[in-house]
Symmetry: C3
Subunit: 308 residues, 3 copies
Amino acid sequence: MLSKKSIIDIDSLTVEEVSQILERTDSFLEVSKRDVKKVPALRGKTIVNLFFEPSTRTKTSFEIAAKRLSADIINFSASTSSLKKGESIFDTLKTILAMSVDLIVVRHNCSGTVKLISKTIDIPVINAGDGKYQHPTQALLDLYTIKKRFNDFNGLKAAVVGDIVNSRVARSDIELFKKMGIDVTIVAPSMLLPDNMDYYGTEVKNCIDDVIEDADIIYMLRMQFERQDRKIYPSVREYNKFLGLNTGRLKKMKQGSIVMHPGPVNRGIEISEEVMNASGELAGKLEIENQVTNGVAVRMALLYLILS
Amino acid sequence: MLSKKSIIDIDSLTVEEVSQILERTDSFLEVSKRDVKKVPALRGKTIVNLFFEPSTRTKTSFEIAAKRLSADIINFSASTSSLKKGESIFDTLKTILAMSVDLIVVRHNCSGTVKLISKTIDIPVINAGDGKYQHPTQALLDLYTIKKRFNDFNGLKAAVVGDIVNSRVARSDIELFKKMGIDVTIVAPSMLLPDNMDYYGTEVKNCIDDVIEDADIIYMLRMQFERQDRKIYPSVREYNKFLGLNTGRLKKMKQGSIVMHPGPVNRGIEISEEVMNASGELAGKLEIENQVTNGVAVRMALLYLILS
Amino acid sequence: MLSKKSIIDIDSLTVEEVSQILERTDSFLEVSKRDVKKVPALRGKTIVNLFFEPSTRTKTSFEIAAKRLSADIINFSASTSSLKKGESIFDTLKTILAMSVDLIVVRHNCSGTVKLISKTIDIPVINAGDGKYQHPTQALLDLYTIKKRFNDFNGLKAAVVGDIVNSRVARSDIELFKKMGIDVTIVAPSMLLPDNMDYYGTEVKNCIDDVIEDADIIYMLRMQFERQDRKIYPSVREYNKFLGLNTGRLKKMKQGSIVMHPGPVNRGIEISEEVMNASGELAGKLEIENQVTNGVAVRMALLYLILS
């Protein structure tokens, strides 16, 4: 169903496509747990990781996903390329395409660039994050993480907490969660909200305490200091007071509820050191590492469904 | 015939060797069009990409070529290496060799360095471009591109246009074209010509209009701004007037003729934006992307003929 | 015997484990000499090269070792990672682990960091050098090099010459040589010795002439200019006078004796240009390239013994 399709934003994915991706992810999650973590599914395919922004987890996640599917993956980072010679992105893309590449994974710091790229070229593109716009594979891995814990999305209550305005994760996750029937509340002070809040059509709260007892999923966003033009964010003290997840708040969460974060966590800001170092039952609520594990499997599923 | 041979410059390649490379390229071009773009020919061989200059297309082209032949390829870029510790190139090479490497692909910003390297070490070296001296794999892919369009080299007229003095592509291409029986004319103002023009033994014209109607191949060189010591190049306005390829000139070219460029194109300088964005019959004259596609196949052929 | 074990320092390796590694190295050295330098032993394993310091030989050596065992290896260099976003090392490690990685090779500029890491995580870690503390795989490849030349360690006399205080190689090599029954003498002026020389329990000489005629192994250390806080090292002239290996001294060495160096050599400091360029019998004493060759095989043996 996803054959040859680009994954640019949540809007262009149907509920059926999302379900298909989640189902396929199950089998690939199992591959990563095997002794021999490799299947020959995409042998002889060439995938390019084209990253215009530095990245650890997403780039490595795609690289591992590709290798576990036996595909060849070429890492192409903008700083070492002939972009230094003043080549345009589109001429670079034409060059990559001319080498008979099967799929390109693109991250770019400008919103909309990946969409533009996907319209220009004839092979599938996966958006690995563009500016403040979208990060669809993050949303899919987050949704899969929720599915693993709750099985069913119906009636689930998610609170997305923090830096909404600067976060492509927020945009993709909120859209995908709502598309799949999860009830979403946004928790953020007005200074961290976009102007067009009607777009999301969700309830807004100003303090994490308003949702902490009732939410099934507390999704903590990363403060995107590097994407803030002006210093509009609250002070750390204020952040902790209204938005930060500490042990006291963690204990108030209802049974079976979970905490998610796209990583890397700003320790002491979004989540306290104490919570990050928690063990036992409290730590069991944190899904952060499972998100990473599921990320490899979701990306394997996407590459497989698009290319095989 | 190429067994264990280094590819350093055009001069040391015989006509028979060139023909053998072109023939072998046919079969590898077909591999890149398959669904499974991989053959086991060089499994268990270790190739090192040793680049002392930034590069997109050439480095990636070799990397993809090696992977499609199932070889292991190690990217070794000078800036991340222990060259920072003051190690000499030759000690670095000895280290690489001691790891039982089968072939080294070298790019270096100083003319002659790759030749020197090949004389120092016992394994095959492929010159991926050195200073203003040679870029033999570019010349071979260019020749292959011409062969695909014209089948026979005899009687073909090529015009090589632009920054002759700073271009290793010019040097390698002119030598190879002439070796294979193509008639070559150089088009450049005196400020873009080397002192020893007798070396080339070709006719020189000062304006692209002198060749545009008669040439089978218009080979546009990239202005090597990064290799110019002083600002000796003409202004963009002058360049466009005497050397630039625009739609008017493209339309004057005879039927079946082609335009080539080693890339990346300085849009608006060597070739106008309008030509670069052309579609239909006019665009059909541009071989730039085919050159890139053929580049992977030529490099596969070279690696295969040298190592298998 | 090494199953799932981390390799952090020499102290935690038993004589039996060391012997097992050396034995296994024999068979992998043979693999690197084959036409097809690849065995399927670690197919489907994922290894991460996590280097917080620039490195040529060690990083490439592990990369080649992993590929010759058919493992997937991910190069993760700190400068291109999200460590730029202020992520802690330990959160980075958690992320890597969550991607179902089988083994991490770590180099770090702070002594003790790799040990700390290995205590924090559940998968095997190999120390590829940390600060001034340890470089156990270097010591193992050095020991293997000695074994290849002398077969037996008993009664061998090794002199370790130069920058003891700044060298992790010195520390690991001296410990391992003594553990295996080699008699070790340190040659260094007091300014290049650590305060706690009792730790080593070896004789100390101040001039290479004191050992040159009697030693079976002259192990020249690299001057670690990059690790010296203050300019405490001797002048080049003084270094040459008391510690440098020149042709005169090389000729005084007894029959069958060898010269080693971890590389890269500071030519003209630890070893003279003349010695580095020697040929014939004199050059036959230099084991520097064999050390590199053996390094790949030792690392293959370690990866194999830990992971298979």
